[in-house]
């Protein structure tokens, strides 16, 4: 597996009238070809903001972005944050593609599905309209839209939710990108349709040998799909690990709490759920402290009220396993069991 994406010290800040919103803070991670990295976290934790920053989709005038995002594409490496708007645009849709949560509103209501896919192709390739449409139909076939040649001429509102998301996938993959960012691709879909779409994504990933960043809040989807996981909380990565390490040897109290709080369909239980108390903080003017401390059951185990006074770093707790917590790995293992 070769390296595809390096994110180093990525910060995204929105200056607003109420103060600075630090939506993602000091993000560090990498992604290989053919690998799936999941980003999980609750609403407002900065998942979308970070991925939009990688794609260069923030309005540069209204967003402060710092750090490095290096994409090792098929034609050499590019640092995207300092690159010109023009350079990034040439990579967007070609080397890196993105699909979004709501496939209805993400497709243009006025253009046919085929036209929208063929536009994505035409931007990065030379060829006639006819070639573009042919390619679009081919892609729709690939994502298993029945009678693709006919349906390519239909409009988004004539497609069902699942088919729209397939069309979005077809559009994202039309130029064989090496990086695909999927921002909650199945959140708006029903479970049986979600299963179809996820399986399709998995097949496509194999076929195109893409690196995939899968953003979701569903720990079940992560368990099924991801190789590695970043857990985000209040704009920061609080834990990062291989998928089994994360589930079976969680090293951050938030992850532990999250995994405990969700019921499972395969285990009949009647006991009370282990809920995490409280609610996530607002990202405006966050105090210098562990953002999770106010909700953390274990902050009292850390001597001297450290959790409320300073910010823990993302520390290595085990091989390939990092967490942002003052508690040493052994103590966490104790409290976890």
């Amino acid at each position: 597996m070769s390296n595809l994406l390096d994110v180093k010290g990525l910060n995204v800040t929105f200056p607003t009238v109420d103060g600075e919103v630090r939506a993602s803070v000091d993000l560090n991670f990498e992604l290989n070809r053919g690998e799936t990295l999941a980003i999980v976290g609750e609403s407002g934790s900065g998942k979308s903001v970070s991925s939009l920053a990688i794609m260069g989709l923030h309005n540069r005038a209204q967003t402060l972005i710092s750090g490095e995002v290096i994409l090792h594409g098929s034609k050499g490496s590019t640092e995207l944050i300092s690159a010109s708007e023009e350079t990034v645009r040439g990579l967007r849709g070609k080397e890196m593609a993105m699909i979004f949560q709501d496939p209805m509103s993400s497709l243009h209501p006025y253009y046919s599905i085929g036209a929208q896919i063929s536009e994505a192709w035409a931007i990065h390739n030379d060829g006639s309209k006819r070639d573009g449409m042919k390619r679009a139909i081919q892609m729709l076939d690939l994502v298993e839209i029945p009678s693709a040649a006919k349906r390519a001429h239909e409009f988004p509102h004539q497609f069902s939710g699942g088919m729209r998301q397939r069309a979005m996938i077809a559009m994202a993959l039309v130029n064989n990108p090496s990086l695909l960012i999927a921002d909650e691709p199945t959140t708006a879909l029903d479970v049986t349709v979600q299963a179809q779409v996820l399986q399709l994504l998995q097949n496509m990933q194999k076929e195109f040998n893409m690196g995939v960043i899968l953003i979701t809040h569903d720990l079940g989807v992560v368990a099924e799909f991801a190789d590695r996981v970043n857990v985000m909380y209040a704009g920061k990565i609080v834990e990062t690990a291989g998928v089994e390490d994360l589930y079976y040897r969680s090293m951050h109290p938030y992850t532990i709490g999250l995994l405990r709080s969700i019921p499972r369909v395969d285990q009949i239980d009647n006991h009370r759920l282990d809920a995490i108390k409280g609610a996530p903080p607002s990202l405006i003017n966050l105090p210098i402290a562990c953002s999770f401390a106010p909700r953390c059951e274990y902050s009292s185990l850390v001597p001297g009220g450290l959790c409320n006074q300073s910010q823990p770093e993302l520390e290595q707790k085990e091989a390939e396993h990092f967490a942002r917590c003052f508690l040493p790995a052994e103590r966490i293992a104790e409290v976890r069991s």
Binding site: H108, A120, K150
Partner: protein, 348 residues
């Protein structure tokens, strides 16, 4: 397979055709109802045209004679029916030696101007249409361009400047902007000779004369409307540019220029179409103030004269019906254009 595709396409065409013919049928019904309404209203207004056109030495006999001559001595529905009949078959007015025939489509006969109303309309309509079309194009181009630019350069000095224009434009009534233009620019700098005001130059034979005689009236109307359209375009463009599908376009690598002109503008302008159509229809009914200021002999002036001078009922009935008809037709055209533009409406 081919056959399936074809029959599918056909059925889509059929659906559109059905939609169009249904809308046309509904529009015709509405027009008939409107013309009836006009007759009912004028029937119950506290004016008696027969008395008004009677003059100083009035006797009941003369009034009765007038009433008969004007065709007002029957019920409103008979009057209305004759009116409809006249449109399709032409009509005779008066009796005996004074008998006058107006050919179809006959909208009535004006006894004060001694003309078939159709002839009067035929003279006034080109003026009003000229005024409306020119102003319409001017304000659309001006308003939409300015709106798009200020949305594109939101919160820069360009945007602020256009905001000032919008504020001034929307707060100035037409007669002020018209008078200002006329008095301070046009007359002062001899751009139009006062004598030339109101002379009809046909666009076919004298295009420059036509253009220059209408330029200032267009501008005075367009400035007012353009301000509204600037504001509307700006907010629609800004709203549309925060839609998810615009983000998708950017994620595909579409250039900023194309994001604006292709992906944003079409959905942003669709709702503008609706008001533009109605505004245009409103103008076709006669821009009374502008026509008065620039002394253009259009529908607006015709109506105003008919009301002020001698309560010339046939003219009033005809122009009112016509103005209503323009609105109905504009509605129809707008809806059909909208269906062409937005596929979600087309198939339902």
């Amino acid at each position: 397979m081919r056959r399936i595709v074809q029959s599918f396409e056909e059925s889509k065409g059929m659906a559109m055709l059905k939609y169009v013919s249904r809308r046309i049928a509904i529009s015709i019904i509405i027009l008939v109802l409107i013309s009836a309404t006009v007759f009912i209203i004028f029937n119950y207004l506290p004016f008696d045209p027969a008395r008004l056109s009677c003059g100083k030495h009035c006797t009941p006999e003369i009034i009765a004679g007038n009433r008969h001559r004007l065709g007002l001595d029957v019920n409103w529905w008979v009057q209305w029916w004759r009116f409809l009949e006249g449109i399709f078959a032409g009509r005779n007015y008066g009796e005996g030696a004074a008998l006058i025939h107006c050919g179809a489509p006959a909208f009535g006969y004006s006894f004060t101007q001694h003309e078939c109303v159709t002839t009067l309309l035929g003279q006034a309509l080109p003026v009003t249409v000229s005024l409306a079309i020119g102003a319409f194009i001017m304000w659309l181009v001006l308003g939409v361009t300015l709106g798009v630019i200020s949305a594109r350069f939101r919160n820069t000095w360009i945007d602020r400047l256009s905001t000032v224009f919008v504020l001034v434009g929307t707060s100035l009534p037409t007669f002020i902007s018209g008078l200002l233009l006329l008095l301070f620019i046009v007359l002062k700098f001899n751009l139009i000779s006062p004598l030339d005001l109101g002379t009809w130059h046909s666009p076919l034979t004298d295009p420059w004369g036509w253009f220059s005689s209408y330029f200032w009236p267009w501008l005075s109307l367009a400035l007012i409307y353009a301000a509204t359209y600037t504001r509307f375009t700006r907010s629609n463009v800004i709203e549309t540019s925060s839609e998810d599908f615009i983000r998708t376009a950017r994620a595909k690598g579409v250039s900023e220029r194309k994001v604006l002109w292709k992906h944003t503008l079409r959905p942003a302008l669709a709702p503008i179409l609706t008001i533009a159509g109605l505004d245009f229809a409103g103008l076709l009914g006669g821009a009374i103030i502008t026509e008065q200021i620039f002394q253009l002999p259009g529908l607006g002036r015709l109506t105003l004269q008919a009301v002020l001078q001698d309560y010339d009922l046939p003219i009033i009935v005809a122009t009112t019906t016509l103005a209503a008809a323009f609105v109905v037709i504009a509605n129809l055209v707008v809806d059909l254009a909208y269906a062409l533009l937005d596929p979600r409406i087309r198939i339902s």
